[in-house]
Amino acid sequence: MADTTLTGPAHEAPDAVPEFPMPRESRCPFDPPPALKELQEQGPLTKVRLWDGSEPWLVTRYAEQRALLGDGRVSADTDQPGYPTKASPEAGEGKLSFIMMDDPEHARLRRMVTGPFAVKKVEALRPAVQRIVDGLIDDMLAGPGPVDLVDVFALPIPSLVICELLGVPYEEHDFFQEHTKTMVRTTATPEERGAASREVAGYLAGLLGKRVAEPRDDLLSGIAARVTAGELTHQQATEMALLLLIAGHETTANMIALGTLALLQYPDQLALLRETDDPKLVASAVEELLRYLHITHLGRRRAVTEDIEIGGQVIKAGEGVIMVNEIGNRDPEVFADPDRLDITRDARRHVAFGFGVHQCLGQPLARMELQVVYGTLYKRIPTLKLACALEDVRFKTDAFIYGVHELPVSW
């Protein structure tokens, strides 16, 4: 060991490159790692070191995150030189459809499936989602507590909705939920992840084949029609269906469970939500919880294809960038007192869904589902409470999407 009295501990050396992701170790499970906050205070960009020794740029401030995510010289193609590898030694199998492509191919494929997610089409589904939510709450209230809210409520909602929209039989949800869980677990081996994704892809390929032969009124049939028209290969269609099936699951489910846990820690905010009949306040609460929570905690990753000067730095072609939206959403330049959950603030400019051409295509659906949930659950179960100590809640630090593994609740 070097003499620390002369040089100081290694992590304090001015040229030390911090490791990413950082340990969470914060007092509050809803706050980003303290080290990330410190980096944001120091400047908008900094180099970090990943598990494989590569050193991409970490972008911590809101303005620079938005600028880079909206920049055509920044590529989402995982095969580009410099693309930051993921947070653990996993190797993704192939490309998860258009989210890992650039325009114009990205736009061509994405536009094939954006129609059903338009705001008014999604609005038309609201009564059906309300029935699903009410039905699940009825079942909960009819049985004994405590229950695991993830299992009986948070996961079934997005799962039922995306299955309905896609035309995937919900009865088979145990099968694909088990596999999608493995696919988003950072501690799964590449082999395990690959096997899980092959299982679900095989299943969806079979369903797509059926829809080619016998179209129905669902999104899978729409995708199948593109195959028939020669606009998509069967492989591309399967990847697209896989993307839509898994993207809706872990994200919304974690927003429901983690959002509920956050509200239980902020009783004044929960009371506001419980007592309001104003859909605007419910919508505002959804935006604020999207801003405040940080379920996409490993950041959005890109490769830079031409030199870009930004935030006092030059990012060279062939270097990687990671935009950590959770810390962007806590940028005090944009959101006053950012670490406070305040459902009455205007949080609509958050980057929880990303920014630029890849911004989440399911966001109108996610918003509507969350509005129904946050606007219903706490009214119908006003005594809802955590059935274990906060310290005993297992947080998903081991998954690409942050949240809780279980949420024991009683009432």
Binding site: T114, V119, F353, Q359
Partner: protein
């Protein structure tokens, strides 16, 4: 004030519709459609919000 929309940039996020329902809608593919090029003053705040949150920078509000 006049609203300009570059529909070929649009990525169908629906944010403009949420911010200003009277000014924007979406077509069958989810691509934004301009309902009102010269919205009344009461809708301008919503349009400004749409300009700020459109992820594709497809919307502009210009002085005539």
């Amino acid at each position: 004030m006049k609203v300009e929309l570059e529909a070929d940039k649009c990525v169908a996020s629906g944010q403009c519709v949420l911010a200003a329902m009277d000014v924007f809608d979406q077509d069958d593919e989810g691509i934004a459609v301009l309902l009102d090029e010269q919205p009344a003053d009461e809708h301008l705040d919503g349009v400004r919000e749409a300009v700020a949150i459109c992820p594709a920078a497809a919307i502009r509000l210009v002085d005539q």
